[in-house]
Amino acid sequence: MAPWNPRTEGMPLDELRRLQFKLVKSLVYRLYSFNDFYRRRMKEQQVHPDDIRTLEDVAKLPFMYKSDLRDGYPDRIFSAEQNELVRYHVSSGTTGKPTVVGYTERDIENWSESLARAFSSCGLGRGDVMQVSYGYGLFTGGLGAHYGAERVGATVLPTSVGNTERQIELMQDLRVTAIACTPSYLLHMGEVAEKMGVSIKNDTDLRMGFLGAEPWSEQMRGRIEDWLGIRAYDIYGTSELSGPMFTECTEQQGIHIWGDLALVEIVDPATGEVLPTGEQGELTVTMLQKEALPMVRYRIGDLTAIEEGVCPCGRTHPRIGRIRGRVDDMLIVRGINVFPSQVEHALLEIPEVGRHFQIVVDRKGALDSMLVRVEVSEEAFSDKITDLMVIKRAVEHRLRGSLNVSVDVELVEPGTLPRFEGKSKKVVDRRSL
């Protein structure tokens, strides 16, 4: 699809990197001069703006964490005065105090520009009707998608969340062609629509969805696209970056991160070391043009990798792969980083076992051992021990392949594994370190 901003989106990589370097350099000088928090951080790290001589020198800069935002509540690390701000968003603190994000006029402008490029890379534009079913209010999703869609000339239907039947009526009556919401809410809409006798695939004009704000998988994409007859695009962002900012293009080969707005690095979650392109690690973002709440090397906590090469769509900017999980869930087994989400993804591809699992890590002598407990599926259950042993070994082989650490698999009775209790029950760490 035609680029929104051809000059920037197709910028040759070396030119883009020169631009990023200039932006980093001026950002660092500005922060060092005017932001007490960040100057203190840099001094602690013994780095001065003059030390940043190449783009790679960004790795010398200190990281920022979610806790910095919480500790700075509400606006102590802002770089703009209140009278320069045009908006606040507040993210709910699931693990403590909320965090507040302020926006200057320019911040809102860049946020809208980012989404305008993203939406048009998926073919949204004048003539489309975009239903925004993200929450409006303190949450960034609703207003973010709203401004981005208006910017590309689409007609926005700001339904926000809830009252699903009315949403479906409006979708039909106003000939909605695109929707922005969470993937689970779209599935819910599909179910409610069927109960009302409406097939989203056959009875509406919906043709694309921008889905995000919660983790989802390729399997879920396949199901949504087939069932609802739309293209489903992954949308990514967090309130610290501004809100939802980036999406895939029609190629669906990774999320384009506009390099003039954000510099992405993937770092080892344990050591903070920058990892090479293609390796999985923690997404770390430096916002290059953000004014009110600058973010430098912000450790988002999401796991992904930077995709190699240039997207077939021709946009030169770096792309990140699907979010694989959260860093908080990471285990280190024999020095290897292991994420429960990797186990989950591997199991989804093995039909002989169910998708529920439990990881038990223990230490025998000096060595860590990792046990994964899984259920044999109904179809695969055989009363021959040899068949069951083949399944067990196949799962062990598959997990070792994707985790790079050897795994014992235990077959357990159905219903004995934790279902919805979350991480606390899914991982049992018996090591006493």
Binding site: E375, E378, D383, L388, V412
Partner: protein, 143 residues
């Protein structure tokens, strides 16, 4: 004709820890289901309980409702002379016919000893055993 000798065995996946057999047996007792014969095969951390019962469909439903992983397996029950050579006779018939025994267990009852077999070619096994004068349990006995 062969079909009337193919017996529906229930097989239950069980973790290898105390109380699991008691849970299975207790469930069958509460449902009033009688067990003729059973065996346990064990592996690394798990096992399979195999049983011949008087009402296999009810047993399947009862155990599945309790969350057990259960399947039916086709087996045959061969009556053996309860004296030296009894097992040898039957094993030879199957061996000569090129039929492989995947597993077996036996019980020695009032009238005869019975060998329960899972084989790779069940209808063929029925024909061979009957053809050479062997006697098989009727499937209807366990319905």
């Amino acid at each position: 004709m062969e079909k009337s000798y193919i017996v529906k065995q229930i097989s239950i996946f069980s973790e290898n820890r105390p109380g699991r057999l008691a849970a299975i047996a207790g469930a069958l007792r509460d449902a009033g289901i009688n067990i003729f014969a059973f065996s346990i095969a064990e592996a690394d951390g798990f096992g399979v309980v195999r049983a011949l019962v008087d009402r296999p469909d009810d047993a399947y439903r009862t155990l599945t409702d309790l969350g057990f992983r259960v399947s039916f397996t086709d087996v045959i029950g061969v009556k053996m002379r309860d004296e030296p050579g009894g097992l040898s006779d039957i094993a030879s018939i199957l061996g000569d016919a090129g039929i492989n025994i995947e597993y077996a267990y036996a019980y020695s009852g009032k009238d005869a000893a019975v060998l329960i077999l899972r084989v790779d070619q069940v209808e063929d096994a029925v024909r061979q055993i009957l053809g050479r004068g062997g006697e098989l349990l009727k499937a209807s006995l366990s319905q």
